[in-house]
């Protein structure tokens, strides 16, 4: 009915403006307690010396672009996924992959809108695809996945704008997380004592922190100027870093409830696709779409080093569980381990 339609639009417009004004107030509140910048506080910290880091291994198994990788907890094995070509299947992008904490299974998914779990077997004769279990079902591509503390639950992020928590055994949806206004591209679980939150980033330029139990958004940050491709917690769990198509990485503090640092340089023009911290949180490694990896001093905000080697976009980057190295995957079909 015309009258109802009009009412609907008025409500929508007023809700939208209410949301905008609340966001403005929130920024004001956040600014009130911001009494010092990180680089000022970090002036006392000794600068890092000259950085010497090299590719120690180059892995060339993939026949196509490497899109995602994850380390096994044994610190030595890696799972990676790529854009696959197969005789019987059309070309599919497998954009997300994760190692199970036990090391006995992996999860992956992508343009098939699903996240599937494959138990790992060392028996070469066994057909891994036959044992595959479809766990998550989204209505658009799967962009990221991660096991929680055990092999039995998986957290997923999707191009359908939602994140979801699933029971692996039954495929049951345990909790869903709504709030992003566009594709969700990445997620990371918090290393907290209570282990109940995670952060996600998306095409709506927002990074959102979620309560896994209630499904509610706990905190949201909207300072990036473009898609957020990667989010990763600072090792203490009190902050997280993000990498974006706006060519910057940023640090958000959860207790101060605001952005506290921007890692950018005028000469860095291409988007950051993937970020991770070294064990102490002093270094931030970021892979970019211009084929390079930049190493940032998290405290001082300066760039420590730029690493060349890949011949195409760096699409994924993770520090090993014991912090002895990090691995980067690229559209040049290779993975490199750096130390």
């Amino acid at each position: 009915m015309a009258a109802d339609g009009l009412h609907e639009n008025e409500t929508l417009a007023s809700l939208k403006s209410e949301a905008e004004s609340l966001k403005g107030k929130l920024e004001e509140e956040r600014a009130k307690l911001h009494d010092v910048e990180l680089h000022q506080v970090a002036e006392r910290v000794e600068a890092l010396g000259q950085f010497v880091m090299k590719t120690r291994r180059t892995l060339k198994g993939h026949g196509n672009k490497v899109l995602c990788m994850d380390w096994c907890k044994d610190k030595r094995r890696i799972v990676s996924s790529s854009q696959e070509h197969a005789v019987t299947m059309p070309c599919t992008w497998v954009m997300a992959c994760a190692y199970a904490p036990s090391g006995c299974a992996i999860a992956c998914g992508g343009l098939d809108n699903k996240c599937s779990v494959y138990p790992l077997t060392f028996d070469k004769n066994e057909n891994m695809a036959a044992k595959k279990k479809s766990v998550a079902m989204h209505t658009n591509y799967l962009s990221a996945c991660s096991f929680t503390n055990s092999d039995m639950q998986i957290l997923t992020a999707s191009g359908d704008g939602t994140c979801a928590l699933w029971d692996v055994e039954s495929g049951q949806l345990l909790q869903s997380f709504h709030g992003h206004g566009a594709d969700v591209l990445c997620l990371d679980l918090a290393p907290s004592e209570t282990g109940n939150t995670f952060v996600s980033g998306g095409c709506d330029k927002k990074a959102m922190v979620w309560d896994m139990r209630s499904g509610q958004c706990v905190q949201a940050f909207e300072t990036h100027e473009s898609d957020i491709n990667s989010v990763r917690y600072y090792p203490s769990g009190d902050a997280f870093a993000s990498g974006s198509d706006d060519a910057t990485c940023r640090l958000y503090d959860l207790r101060a409830d605001r952005e506290v640092a921007i890692y950018s340089k005028e000469s860095i023009i291409f988007g950051a696709s993937s970020v991770d911290f070294s064990l102490s949180g002093r270094l931030l490694f970021a892979g970019y779409n211009d084929y390079t990896i930049n190493v940032w001093d998290v405290l001082k905000g300066s760039r420590v080093s730029i690493l060349f080697g890949h011949e195409n976009r760096v699409s994924t980057l993770r520090v090993s569980p014991d912090g002895t190295a990090f691995c980067s995957g690229s559209w040049d079909h290779t993975l490199r381990v750096w130390a």
């Binding site: 809700l15 609340l22 966001k23 929130l26 509140e29 956040r30 307690l33 009494d35 010092v36 910048e37 506080v41 910290v45 890092l48 000259q50 010497v52 992008w93 954009m95 658009n140 039995m152 704008g161 692996v168 345990l174 709030g179 206004g181 566009a182 594709d183 591209l185 004592e193 209570t194 905190q219 949201a220 898609d227 203490s236 009190d238 198509d245 207790r255 101060a256 409830d257 506290v260 000469s267 023009i269 988007g271 070294s278 064990l279 102490s280 949180g281 002093r282 779409n289 211009d290 390079t292 998290v298 405290l299 730029i306 060349f308 011949e311 014991d322 912090g323 559209w331 040049d332 130390a339």
Partner: protein, 470 residues
Amino acid sequence: MAAGPAPLGGHPRAQKPHLSKMERVVVSMQDPDQGVKMQSQRLLITVIPHAVTGNDVVEWLIQKYCIAEDEALHLGTLLVQHGYLYPLRDPRRLLLQPDETPYRFQTPYFWMSTLWPAAELDYAIYLAKKNIRKQGALVDHEKAHYDQLHRKINHTWDLVVMQAREQLRAAKQRRKGDRLVIACQEQTYWLVNRPPPGVPSVLEQGPERGSCTARQVQMTKTVDFYKREIECCRKALGRTRVKSSVCLEAYLKFSSQRGPHDPLLSGCLPSNPWVTDDDTYWAMNAPSVAVPTKLRVEQWAFSFRELLEDPVGRAHFMDFLQTEFSAENLSFWEACEELRHGGQAQVPALVDAVYQQFLAPGAARWVNIDSRTMERTLEGLGRPHRHVLDDAQLHIYMLMKKDSYPRFLKSDLYKDLLAEAVVPLETKRRVFPFMWKPRHSSPSLALLPTSTSGEPEAAAGSPGGGDGET
């Protein structure tokens, strides 16, 4: 060109930010005062104005962005690969040579942001022109494209050939210099948009994002969406915030404390296996090793969470709790973890098992929870779910953290572990990530004052990534 700028994609997603940034760079490179030095370039018998050398481009980037030569060369190469600069002499390869090789700035008409995606018809005309000029001797991949297009748009082929002939005729009317420049510009445009085999395409964007506009509209414009945002904002406004100075100080403390434990920052003993191919470090730090290293034992004092996360640490803590007759607390906590992270199907059985063992009156390993939490928990047990024990678990966790954990760190058990812990000798080959302070096998960095009381802090100037402060 036959067609004008084509409409972008099929959906109004913002153009990739890196393109506009590159365009700003090349615009400032062409600034008459601050830009790259322009000169006229002689090519055979023609003189081409407004050319720059590869060397000057690199130098300019070094000055403008305060970067080293390798980064400047890399950035310059990206500009050429994206077609914003083209080589005058050998326009078949889009590379930046850091020498006297001449380049020119691409006309904005051919910029990636202006004329994308490249129209098939235009490519056909371009190839037809080349075909006519070279009398059929096209390069392999261009020949393949030509044949393919000929088949595909056969019905308009007359138009293609006609346009090609017309363009060639018009070109003949121009001065030699202009003709050369236009040919280079066009060739560069097609090298970017139809790269030869083996050359990665800079146009590839990966899987489409925000693909379904309708879906996006749906997501952003529902009443529910805004209600959720408002709710989230209201809650956020109500939360307690901590001053930035306090938060940021915490990073300094955290990073300096962890610096020596960070192999990529401070190296690791005896050596980093990835660097020296010696696995000893991994063997010595295996999850369940008989004698842990000193650094590892020290890390148990950093936080309760880290003690529990380490299976060896947790086992020793359990031993300690046994001496205090409170081991059931840790066992209870472990059982709750299993519930929270376990399979859905196991929930009822696990909840029941936990109740029988830890919570029921007269249970064998009864845990001491405050009455209110106990009441709430017991109520919830009627309808068991993964989070039904969360409150009780948190209560016990805090009890251990505030009470047993500090006592553990002061205990003889822990002190003995520290004393017996291994400090590996470094291998002869010194390879450190940072070329300033090599690690020593001597007593490691200061423990925090909260751990072993009374001990003086280690002297400043200690090895590793710390700043000597605690």
